[in-house]
């Protein structure tokens, strides 16, 4: 495959940045998108140019580290992660535009790498459960209905990639935050911090500068894990009830 890549290059956080066009040849349809980027970077390295910086880790679709806004979609044309996107999703001769996630709360570090530390801080604010140390409790000690377990698990599949933020016209982090609030709110282990969790995580999400939700559903359509909007409704319920009932004046 012969392709033309239009890639966002930006030296550092304060650099203005611009698109740079790179022609590339000899790409196999079996390569993953990131492997195609590796080929480009090898060519750049041979030429003595600065390789294109991009995030990745597991390359198995489970860590959420890979990003890239490809031809107007986070993670490209398929509802999957960029590492699981294959070049067979493109045609010979295509021009592919590659940009970083765009959000005030995801500042560009270099090229296509953005700082998603804001997500970590939302988790730190309340996305945990307190567990006593001591003997390991029996796994089936607390009965949980199958339907609830499944729903909590669905929410827990969020890999924190930030595609929802990248896709949203408001750069809202509500799909992510709601998945993280939901996975614990539904389970018995999550009850202890249930109210403070909703209050603190929403407050942190707002403090990071993410937008609000207009319920357009762009996040759900682009989420590689199929996290659904029902999570956002649940987060709103959790937040309203926590605001009314909690002792935090």
């Amino acid at each position: 495959m012969k392709l033309t890549l239009k890639i966002w290059r930006q030296k550092n956080a304060s650099d203005k940045g611009a698109f740079v066009t790179y022609p590339i040849d000899g790409i196999s349809t079996d390569m993953s998108f990131l492997e195609m980027m590796d080929v480009l970077n090898e060519e750049l390295a041979v030429k003595g140019e600065d390789p294109v910086h991009f995030d990745h880790d597991c390359r198995e679709g489970i860590c959420g580290m890979c990003s890239l806004y490809i031809n107007g979609h986070p993670h490209g044309p398929k509802q999957t992660t960029t590492c699981q996107l294959h070049m067979r999703s493109f045609s010979d001769g295509d021009t592919i535009t590659i940009e970083p996630w765009r959000a005030a709360a995801f500042p560009v570090v270099k090229d296509l790498v953005v700082d998603r530390g804001s997500f970590d801080r939302i988790i730190q604010a309340g996305g945990y459960v307190s567990v006593n140390t001591g003997g390991v409790p029996d796994a089936n000690e607390i009965p949980i209905p199958k339907r609830i377990a499944d729903e909590a698990f669905d929410s827990a599949t969020c890999i924190g990639c930030g595609a929802c933020v990248a896709a949203c016209k408001n750069a809202s982090a509500m799909l992510f935050t709601s998945a993280k609030i939901s996975q614990l709110a539904m389970l018995p282990q999550g009850q202890v911090e249930r109210m403070s969790r909703a209050e603190k995580m929403v407050a942190q999400m707002d403090a990071e500068g993410f937008g609000a939700c207009t319920n357009t559903g762009a996040c759900e359509a682009e989420c590689p894990k199929g996290i659904s909007l029902t999570n956002i409704a649940r987060m709103n319920r959790e937040y309203f009830s926590a605001s009314v009932k909690s002792e935090n004046v």
Binding site: R102, N170, N215
Partner: protein
């Protein structure tokens, strides 16, 4: 900040206000359109004028009308507040943005709302302000005097521009509600396997039926009263 202001100024709280005021305005529109159906009665405006007097004098209706004013003002102020925040959440946009799988209405609620706001201002100036403070002709039914709002309405809708403007505004209202109706329930957290499908169907019917009924009034008057 107290917990109330903290909650209502959060992104979710601001949306709560949008949803509650929006739903109240939907209730208001339902009442408004039902009452105005009296324009179709063909009795020279008697029923409509009696209704108009009731609507401006009855104390219970007064209370509702204050709630309506507050809802409009609240909805607009919070929409500006939200839209500003949403804009600043993405200071640098994308080079390429293919239209996503979302609806045109959901992506343009602010623009649709702004057009509706312009309509509301013109509309209130044409009829609401006239009814309250205008020098209206007076008619007498059964020995009681009534302001003849009907004559003002029929006169206004002899003008093609007014009629076209009203019909167009109702198209925008339809689009605003095609997203807004169901969206408000989602914001309130009412997303449920049993009820959401029904809410979505009712929303679709509502966003078509109510604007059509409203739009048919100027059109009907234009063709029957000239």
């Amino acid at each position: 900040m107290s917990w109330v202001t903290k909650t209502l100024s959060s992104t979710i709280g601001r949306k709560l206000i949008m949803a509650l005021t929006g739903l109240f305005l939907i209730l208001f529109l339902t009442g408004h359109v039902s009452g105005n159906l009296l324009l179709f009665k063909g009795d020279g405006g008697e029923a409509f004028n009696i209704y108009a007097k009731f609507m401006t004098t009855n104390p219970a209706v007064k209370l509702l009308s204050y709630l309506t004013y507050i809802s409009i003002i609240g909805h607009v102020i919070f929409s500006i507040w939200l839209s500003k925040r949403n804009k600043s959440a993405r200071p640098i946009g994308y080079g390429v943005s293919t239209p996503p799988s979302t609806t045109v209405s959901s992506r343009n609620m602010g623009i649709l709302g702004t057009i509706i706001l312009i309509f509301i201002v013109v509309h209130m100036q044409s009829f609401w302000a006239q009814m309250h403070w205008g020098d209206l002709p007076v008619v007498t039914y059964d020995g009681e005097q009534y302001k003849d709002l009907f004559s003002i309405v029929t006169f206004a809708f002899q003008n093609e521009l007014m009629v076209i403007g009203y019909v167009v505004a109702m198209v925008f209202l339809a689009f605003h509600l095609s997203h807004g109706f169901a969206s408000a329930f989602q914001t309130l957290g009412l997303n449920h396997a049993k009820y959401s499908p029904a809410i979505s169907v009712i929303g679709k019917i509502y966003c078509i039926l109510v604007p059509i009924l409203f739009a048919s009034m100027p059109v009907y008057i234009y063709f029957t009263q000239s």
